[in-house]
């Protein structure tokens, strides 16, 4: 194919994206070497001072990073299990199949912040229905003001919001599976459990890896939900990396330092996602390799 044409197709998109992003990216890197804060606004150059501070004297960032890791891995794992399970349930004959399919998709179509505002009233300690239920047992769990419970609440909301995404990808995957392996298994008289282990699951492996990686990427950006639900609190117990960077950058106006955090965070994310992708390929594809 002619040399010229391929660039006509590629370049508009690439140039627009680069055009919009080139300044923010270069500027963030440059900013990360400056001491821009509210006392001292301006692009000075302070070398790697910010990075030294980050690696030696900022436990809070690394804690928020670990918390983010815990939060995103657990919620994505739950979403995968539940989403896959639901997809299997409404895959074949079930009454009101289409109704359930639509219903299971709906949370994904709602705006997280807006639903979180509703969830906040839902989990309200004295006026919400959750504690109305728990009061039957004489309990009143402080959902949003207890360190562990606040984290649990965030996880519940995340699972509610994003299980549909997994559900959609897994159901679309199930519906596109070839029929032959299932026929073969039926002829061999395989039980449904064996059919799942030896036929369905291996066939779904590539889709599973894709879906988990996408969800991990999206989950690691969690911010809206925490912003509305707990504002990182109580204390710093639900603070994730994004939220911490937000506090440093736009609440405390340590713009230079927050750029350092952002840049470091991006590098770690890209490296760890690459590793996770390799790791998942290894577990899910085990059957194929042998």
């Amino acid at each position: 194919m002619n040399f010229k044409h391929k660039f006509v197709f590629l370049m508009p998109g690439l140039l627009v994206l680069l055009g919009i992003l080139i300044f923010p990216i270069i500027f963030t890197v440059r900013l990360s070497f400056s001491g821009w804060d509210s006392f001292n606004p301006g692009l000075d150059f302070i070398g790697i001072e910010n990075y030294i501070r980050l690696f030696t004297d900022d436990k809070r960032f690394w804690e928020s990073f670990l918390r983010l890791g815990f939060l995103s891995i657990t919620t994505v794992f739950l979403q995968y299990i539940i989403g896959f399970g639901l997809a299997l349930l409404v895959w074949k004959e079930i009454k009101f199949k289409r109704f359930f399919r639509v219903l299971f998709l709906i949370p994904m179509m709602t705006t997280p912040v807006i639903m979180t505002v509703i969830w906040r009233t839902f989990f309200h300690e004295s006026l919400g229905p959750v504690n109305d239920f728990f009061s039957l047992f004489g309990m009143a769990p402080p959902w949003l003001s207890h360190e562990v419970l606040a984290l649990v609440t965030v996880m519940i909301v995340e699972v509610w919001q994003w299980t549909p995404f997994m559900f959609l990808l897994m159901l679309a995957g199930l519906l596109s599976l070839p029929k032959e392996p299932f026929l073969a298994a039926a002829i061999d008289g395989a039980s449904s459990i064996r059919k799942f282990i030896y036929v369905t699951f291996p066939l779904m492996a590539p889709i599973s890896i894709g879906a988990i990686i996408i969800r991990l990427i999206e989950a690691s950006k969690i911010m809206d939900t925490i912003f509305v639900l707990t504002s990182g609190g109580p204390g710093t117990s639900t603070e994730t990396s994004s939220f911490y960077i937000f506090i440093k950058g736009l609440r405390e106006f340590q713009i230079g330092y927050s750029a350092t955090l952002s840049f470091t965070y991006l590098i770690i994310m890209i490296i760890s996602l690459t590793f996770i992708a390799k790791f998942l390929t290894k577990i899910f594809m085990k059957g194929d390799a042998e």
Binding site: R98, L103, T111, V113, I114, V117, N131, S242
Partner: protein, 282 residues
């Protein structure tokens, strides 16, 4: 054994359905309350447990000068920004995806897969990383607090999705289609426009759907990059979430705002059941 399985299946599905519906039911019930019925304890059923009030709904259409919360304008702003940025992202993203799927690019160590990764990797960046530079950049271009500025930012957010879905999709459209078209005397643009594109409708629908969802649900950029002139729906609603929250109008506004995309759920299901989507989502 069989009946046990069926019972389990239906209980699982019902249980999850209840979890999905619960916040909506709560929001519907709350939207008909007023200050007294919210603060006097938890209640669910209007007329039976509390006297319904339509204040929460009425307030949505009143202008702010009469004590109302005008969400009509934010509503149209949101629709405008979402649609325009999705459209641009899909056009540019589809073209780029076609190039990445059909031609080979090589520049030093950069190959096709690296360019694709560059596109998709934009999704890894948390909004907060970009928000400060974007703030300064839009300020410099005097696009802060304008719809155009937001559209620009949203293109960065949405184009990666379009590229990701369309590259996968084009990889599955047989190359023979375009080759035949070329032999028949089409130039590459005609081959793309007349032959490949009509065969890619399911992919385009999925890409469009995801762009619209992720555009519509964004909060953070709209929160940072707009102030008073232009307000998007999520920002307008979260702004209600102050210390003295009017739960009733908040619930009503939330319900109104999630309504349009629920239509998308029906469209998705339709295509799923017809089997058209399954090829498009990998």
């Amino acid at each position: 054994m069989k009946t046990l399985y069926t019972t389990l299946k239906y209980s699982a599905v019902t249980l999850w359905s209840m979890f999905v519906i619960a916040p909506f039911l709560w929001a519907i019930s709350t939207s008909f309350k007023d200050f007294n019925s919210v603060t006097s304890g938890v209640s669910y059923i209007p007329w039976l447990q509390f006297e319904p009030s339509f204040e929460g709904w009425k307030v949505l259409t009143k202008p702010a000068s009469e004590g109302g919360i005008n969400i009509v304008e934010p509503y149209f702003n949101s629709i405008f920004v979402t649609l325009i940025s999705s459209l641009i992202s899909i056009i540019l993203g589809t073209l780029a995806a076609y190039a990445l799927s059909r031609f080979t690019f090589k520049a030093g160590f950069v190959k096709n897969s690296d360019i694709t990764f560059f596109f998709i990797s934009q999704r890894i960046m948390p909004p907060i990383v970009l928000s400060i530079p974007f703030f300064l950049m839009l300020g410099y271009l005097s696009l802060l607090d304008t719809l155009m500025g937001l559209v620009m930012v949203y293109i960065v957010l949405l184009m990666p999705i379009a590229v990701w879905i369309m590259v996968d999709f084009f990889n599955k459209v047989p190359r023979e289609i375009d080759e035949t078209a070329l032999i028949d005397g089409c130039n590459p643009y005609q081959a793309f426009y007349k032959v490949v594109l009509p065969n890619s409708i399911p992919g385009l629908i999925v890409a469009g759907m995801f762009c619209i969802i992720f555009g519509w649900i964004d909060f953070f950029f709209a929160f940072i990059l707009t102030f008073t002139e232009v307000q998007l729906l999520p920002v307008a609603i979260v702004a209600l979430n102050s210390s003295i929250t009017p739960w009733w109008s908040l619930s009503a506004a939330a319900l109104v705002s999630v309504a349009p995309l629920i239509v998308v759920a029906f469209i998705v299901e339709r295509y799923l059941s017809k089997g058209n989507l399954s090829g498009a989502i990998k």
